[in-house]
């Protein structure tokens, strides 16, 4: 296996072009090292951690920009993220263990494109964009189209994710991420649900509701029908019940060693309801009627 530590994005892109499908980017390595030990070694390993300015969290013109090499722990402990992007913060604090969070990067989580990846449904509901570098230039790709299947993304084999650009939701908007797994720590999600709710000015109705479903399809999903059902309405117990059932139909889960498809649908239903109750209460100060 050949090994490279490019010092710039340009150098990294030339290496990826030159080595083609043989090359593998490595960031934190929490996915790649396990693959090297238990599956196979790539022909060439391109360690991007020596590229300066790929890590960090900055606020810029109504967005938070998070560099690809920012660790999950740095996101979890960022006061800025906790205040402005609670749904992403909530997902990062439920991610693996402290040891893994200290090493794992958000760029690796995104480019792994696992349907259960913890940061992915929050990025979908935040309507964030991936900033991708290719040898012929940079491009901004919405996460809605970025994820293309398990392990497949718009970064492809020759692109590099440099940053995530996350529009800051309106003040007053609340978000939660609910993870269902066998153990609290150190477990891959059986189902993950991200809910973001923005109230109207009088805090009487849900002006905007966004729901992201993780680990229940080939990519992380939004639940557009459920969102449409709720938009502009005051959330009642009956409406939330209907929304949960509808969200379960929008998921397309599979059966695997972690859970059956049927069980996953039930969990989607339960977590969607719980997420709506929690965000409604947090955003309006009212109990669900």
């Amino acid at each position: 296996m050949e090994y490279f530590e490019p010092k710039s994005i340009g150098d990294a892109l030339s290496l990826l072009s030159k080595h083609g499908a043989e090359a593998k980017v490595i960031a934190g390595g929490t996915d790649v090292m396990v693959d090297i030990k238990f599956k196979e070694e790539p022909g060439a390993l391109v360690n991007i951690k020596k590229i300066p300015s790929l890590a960090g969290i900055t606020e810029r013109g109504g967005s938070l920009r998070i560099g690809a090499l920012t660790t999950i722990r740095d996101i979890e402990t960022s006061a800025l993220v906790r205040e402005k992007l609670p749904v992403l913060w909530d997902a990062c604090r439920q991610f693996a263990s402290l040891q893994v969070r200290n090493t794992a990067t958000i760029g690796g989580n995104i480019c792994r494109a696992s349907p259960s990846g913890e940061s992915l449904t929050p990025l979908l509901v935040l309507e964030a964009n991936a900033i991708l570098a290719f040898s012929d230039g940079e491009r901004s790709e919405p996460f809605k189209t970025f994820f293309q299947g398990p392990g497949k993304s718009a970064a492809g084999a020759k692109g590099l994710l440099t940053e995530v650009d996350i529009p800051i939701p309106p003040a007053g908007s609340k978000g939660v991420y609910l993870k269902h797994a066998v153990r609290g720590a150190m477990d891959i999600a059986m189902v993950g649900v991200a809910v973001m709710l923005t109230p109207d000015a009088g805090k009487n109705n849900a002006q905007d509701v966004r729901i992201g479903l993780g680990a229940v399809g080939p990519t992380p999903l939004r639940a557009p029908k459920t969102e449409a059902l709720l938009k502009g309405k005051a959330l009642t117990a009956a409406l939330i019940k209907e929304a949960g059932a509808l969200a379960a139909t929008e998921a397309s889960p599979i059966t695997d060693q972690r859970s059956s498809a049927e069980n996953r649908r039930w969990i989607v239903e339960a977590l969607t309801r719980r997420g709506l109750e929690q965000t409604w209460k947090a955003a309006t100060g009212k109990e669900v009627a």
Partner: protein
């Protein structure tokens, strides 16, 4: 392809070469013959291989040895001062938190990192600090007792 690694382990400069695919754990155990950090799951799940990397606890089995370049690493071998055990090590003995002992070095490194971060850890801090460490002999209560004792002594 072999990679040259210049790093600092337990305060001492170390220079050695390793294959690019080598994990930091393999580098410590096999290249440097430092067997204190334990190889168990080799997939980042059990914490037996925990070391402190630039002040932070990490799983050395899923970290590239090449990433040790320029880093400050503390392993279990770096805690005792000659024959005098580190207070965290002593606390594990005093509370009987060690059974087979295989998980112990990893726990001790997680706890050392915790007590470096905060002198008065809450129950939540403790749970977070060792949530990535598994003990198959399952004496978890005594491990928590050891952490409280170590915090009181430090």
């Amino acid at each position: 392809m072999s990679v040259k690694i210049n790093t600092t382990i337990n305060g001492q400069a170390v220079s050695a070469s390793a294959e690019a695919s080598t994990s930091l754990l393999e580098f410590l155990r096999d290249t440097l013959e430092m067997k204190g950090s334990k190889l168990c799951c080799n997939t980042g799940e059990c914490g037996a291989c925990t070391v402190i990397y630039n002040g932070k606890p990490i799983n050395s089995c899923v970290t590239m040895a090449a990433d040790a370049n320029g880093a400050q690493i503390t392993t279990i071998e770096g805690l005792a001062d000659g024959d005098k055990l580190h207070p965290v090590q002593q606390a594990f003995i005093d509370t009987g938190a060690v059974q087979c002992g295989y998980c112990t070095p990893g726990y001790i490194m997680s706890v050392k990192a915790l007590l470096d971060r905060t002198k008065k850890p809450t129950q939540a801090d403790i749970e977070e600090a060792v949530s990535g460490n598994i003990c198959r002999c399952t004496g978890y209560n005594k491990i928590v007792d050891a952490i409280h004792l170590a915090a009181a002594k430090l």
